[in-house]
């Protein structure tokens, strides 16, 4: 072979490593031999709540090896149904429950708040929820219509499927469609950059990602702060609710108790949510 002899041990070593790696991957783990007793339960519902509960469940399961939590999507309404029928131990919803859906045991996980942002030099600093609805549905298209300078409003929207977008649509648009020719950005960061670069832009981002790059608008004279969201005076917010048929006991109750711990709260905050307390 064309390989210098001094490299031969090296090649042998790397082959050995390869084999060892293959064995490590494909061989059954030694700890699966002792079959542990698993306690499993399911959380199902809102696809906005799903990722955050998944994350929390993973963290919880890492510390509690005998617990298996299955997290499924399906939407808020199917989460309510799953809790009512008991097909899932926990239902998840990203909205207040309707009158017809009451009667379930509810646990508010956190609040999800959305801030409406403009360029720092924009003279407009307060809009009503109705004005925002009209701006994002295209009925108002000039800043002069809401007390600003005579300039076209450049609406920045999120992509279809984004949780922030669907929440904003649900709370603000009242069944109307977003203005069609709004610029679409694929992440909170790029919405912020786009707004920060354009004096006539307006966009929306989750509360946790706010900074000085953009100016946050007051909505009906209420500032977008954690306090105003948890006391429900800031309008563009929604609760993330877990529910069950009856007050949970056992493993589910322990998990719910852990959700109020500092560790879980930290995860909620990192994900841009407003904790309840």
């Amino acid at each position: 072979m064309l390989i210098a002899p001094k490299y031969k041990p090296l090649i042998f070593l790397s082959l050995l490593l390869l084999v060892w790696g293959a064995v490590a991957i494909f061989a059954p783990g030694s700890n699966s031999a002792k079959k542990a007793q698993f306690i499993a339960f399911t959380a199902a519902g809102s696809t906005s709540v799903q990722p955050i509960v998944e994350m929390l469940a993973q963290e919880y399961m890492a510390a509690h090896r005998n617990i298996r939590i299955n997290v499924q999507g399906g939407g808020s309404s199917s989460g309510v149904k799953a809790a009512q029928t008991g097909t899932a131990e926990l239902g998840m919803a990203s909205r207040e429950l309707k009158e017809s859906e009451k009667g379930l045991w509810e646990f508010i996980l956190a609040y999800d708040g959305i801030a409406v942002v403009v360029h720092p030099t924009n003279t407009v600093s307060d809009l009503s929820l109705e004005q925002i609805e009209k701006i994002f549905s295209g009925e108002i298209s000039n800043w002069s219509q809401v007390g600003g300078p005579d300039a076209a409003i450049n609406v920045i929207n999120r992509e279809a499927g984004s949780g922030t977008r669907s929440a904003f649509e649900e709370i603000v648009l009242n069944g109307k469609n977003f203005v069609e020719d709004a610029i679409i950005q694929g992440s909170t960061g790029s919405v912020k950059t786009s707004v920060a670069m354009d004096p006539n832009a307006i966009g929306y981002v989750s509360l946790a990602s706010l900074d000085d790059l953009v100016k946050t608008l007051l909505i009906d004279q209420v500032a977008a702060t954690n306090d105003n969201i948890s006391n429900k005076t800031y309008p563009i917010a929604r609760p993330f609710i877990l529910m069950a048929k009856a007050k949970p006991t056992g493993a589910v109750a322990e998990f719910l108790a852990w959700l109020e711990s500092d560790e879980a709260t930290q995860i909620l905050i990192e994900e841009g949510l407003v904790p309840v307390k």
Binding site: N154, G161, D181, I183, G186, T193
Partner: protein, 285 residues
Amino acid sequence: MNRQRHEVLAKTMLQTTAFFSIAAVLLIIVFVFCEGLPALREVGLLSFVFGGIWQPMQGQFGIWPMLVGSVYLTLGAILIGVPFGVGCAILLAEFAPQKLVRIIRPAVELLAGIPSVIYGFFGLMILVPLLRELFGGTGFSLLAGSLILGIMILPTVMTVSEDAIRAVPKSYKMASLALGATHWQTVYKVILPAAKSGIIAAVVLGMGRAIGETMAVIMITGNVPIVPDSILAPIRTLTGNIAIEMGYAAGLHQQALFATGIILFMLIFVLTGLANLVRWKGAKH
């Protein structure tokens, strides 16, 4: 005997690597088609490709605006990148003194090494605001995308064209000069026609790069799924459609994004096929 064994070993190893590259391509194609075909069946090929409305949350899956967006953007990039790229190539191969070549070539080749997200960032921070100042509107536009992509395909177009020009036999040039033609006349009438098929290959490679580019494009084109009515209007490309919505898509929406990938595959097949046809016809004359 030992030598022979090594020969066989080397051959087998090389065959294995070749097999893996082919397997990777096939796997990707099979995967994309498997994931995307259900959506094509559900929506219908014609209403998927020619449908003008993309509202996945309302179950409307029409990618015509993105198809048009991708084609326009690629044409725009070619329109900007090719004249500059071929111009550079002619300069380097025919006119520039060695010293200049040693500066220009690495400089342009350096462009190829810049990650596309940097191009996108540059476009977002400099070009988009500039276009907004100059022409009004949002600045996110077909024009912004074309300018940035034009610069991105420059190195590909330049290096391949330069090779093509250098490959033209010296005797052609000498004969032309001996007949009394000037240097530029020789380049224009003799060398460029002789290098035509190589230059078309350069354009095809540039086109491939332009149509597949994603990151820079989603940062500066605005991603609006509407057929653009001017070069200042925002557009969304096929690649952009996939990249921007993949994060949260589920169910039929996700399948529709894979189906977008299938259409992108086909578009690339058609475009490279067309380009090869032109090249083949050109080579025959």
